[in-house]
Amino acid sequence: MTHFEKKRSGQNKWTWFCLFVLSVYLIPDIAVAAEQGVSATTDGLAALLPAPKPTRADYMTVGGMSSRTIIWGLAQMHLFLAAFVLAVPFFVLCIELTGTLTGDKRYDDMAYEFMKISMAAYSFTALVGGGLAIALFLFYPVLMGYLLKVFRGQTLIYALLFLGESVFLYIYFYSWKALRYGNLKWAHMSIGLILNTVGLTLMFIANAWASFMMSPAGVDQTGAITGTVWAATRNPLWNPLNLHRFLANIAYGGAIVGAYAAYRFLSAKSAEVRAHYDWMGYTSNIIAIIGFLPLPFAGYWLMAEIYAYSQQMGITAMGGVLAWLFIIQAVLIGTILLAANYYLWCGLGRSERGQDYTPYVKYIAIVIVGGFLVWVTPHSLILTPQELQQLGGPNHKILGPLGIMPAKNIAVNLMLVFTFLSFQMFYRSSRVATVSWAKQGQMFVVGLYIVGCLNIIGAGVYGYLTPTVYKVGASVPQVVSTLSIIVFSGLIDYFMFKGSKKREVRWGRMSTRSQYALFVLPVAFTWLMALMGYIRSSLRTNWHVYTIMKDNSPEAYIPTIGQAGNIITAITLTFMGLILFIFWLSQLGSTEQIENEDAVPAGERP
């Protein structure tokens, strides 16, 4: 084959791959269009009936147990597992593509190992999902009946997609070694693409049901169905929730496989194995950070849409009793950022050049800890009358201004920018730029950071000087500034270090302590997701479907923060126990017993 033919063959592969991507991404649209056709013809008299009004007798209790707590636990566990098993194939496909394009076999091995962990979790996801479905129909039959009427044939599409997810997941995993080289590798990645498309569509459908309960659409004020399934699906909170969960899944999946890598790193007996799991832990941490950096902005969009849909709902979240939970959220997010940064700082010790960057770590730490403290500062304090008198009001005179959004927006954006800086320092620690414009490029990056950070601070201070609507509006330039710093400095670095001199990175040269930072990430993430899930669900107050269908069960109230805290913690601990079991299973799968083990002296065993 001539060089030209080889090149053409490569181009053909890309063309087919791109066509395939396009066709696969059209599938959900076709499914929705077909569903619209079905719904248009199946509407009948039932569509004109208002939503049912369940009475106390419609709610079953089993053995005096709290129905809501059972559903809460199962739904949260299902969400944790589903987030993990949907996220892993997504970044695995990206790693597989990187391995194919760079020709580095290590990427392929790592991607396969990530999939192994995900496979162990998949059956639990299905089991808990099945349990949740049964429990929902048992404890909330009237609500489920109504949701089935609203979403009609879409529920069958969901079931078919679930089947498709299982089929493509098994094919993708078990064909890994059979379809490893040449064109077959592209066929394998195409299967991965279908798997991800099916998985994402599944999540989008489930999100439509959850968001419909918060912001119903396609129905009138009485709950009578007036629109198509697509109208109910595309409710005001659907897309913000889709984006938020998509990003959170990636961050969460990265954090969990990072903990697996840390677990294997700590139990490794040889330097080679330790080096492999150190690299795996580093990659996982980067995946978690990539998913996490834009996440606050997606959360901000979701909350803005909640306010736009119902100001009452927004005030319940941010201005009522639930507002205090956002302080706990700040503590958990601060913990995640501190742990992720600490791990990156420890990573500077892997190369000799990394030492040059160590003096800057303390400045980054000051910004992150300072930002963390501003973020956790509450605006209004819960005080006794005596404390109130001593303080002269509910707000602290000096710290009070730090409790409102402009200060918190500065803090969050700077924390994200400096987390990216930690990553950038690690990236640079193993490279020496050789391009002629390296110094000028460096000046542009320094200038970008200085001016960008000043713009973030300035836009925050601006919020104190202008009316509320301008204060809220100024948060958007802050977000764009943060993203500009990340994107432009990332691009300048990419071109500046292209073809750079590589310095040796000693994988495995990491402290034991650094690995515990990788354990902190999934624990904090799990707790955070459970906490925010409680807040999102509580926003409906005493409604099953907000303003349409009232919850008349004995538990139609927002649980107290203490009660919710206990349940959230119990769910988090249960999930952590399950994850440890999954890690153990994955390790067991790669353990081989030696024949006549007793005959080999203990010291000589591998």
């Binding site: 110094k439 000028q440 000046m443 542009f444 320094v446 200038g447 970008l448 200085i450 001016v451 960008g452 713009n455 836009a459 601006y462 000087l465 202008t466 009316p467 609507v469 301008y470 509006g473 100024a474 958007v476 330039p477 764009v480 500034s481 500009s484």
Partner: protein
Amino acid sequence: MIKSFPVVVFVAAVLFWMGYFYTIDQMIMEGQGLPVTWTMMPK
């Protein structure tokens, strides 16, 4: 002359990024229906 070159580039970079951030701030505020003067204060 040669030694001061990075300083010149740095000043140029700062001016460039100031122009960039000022422009996007203006555009974003106006785009949200929040008219501002050249000093960025509400009109």
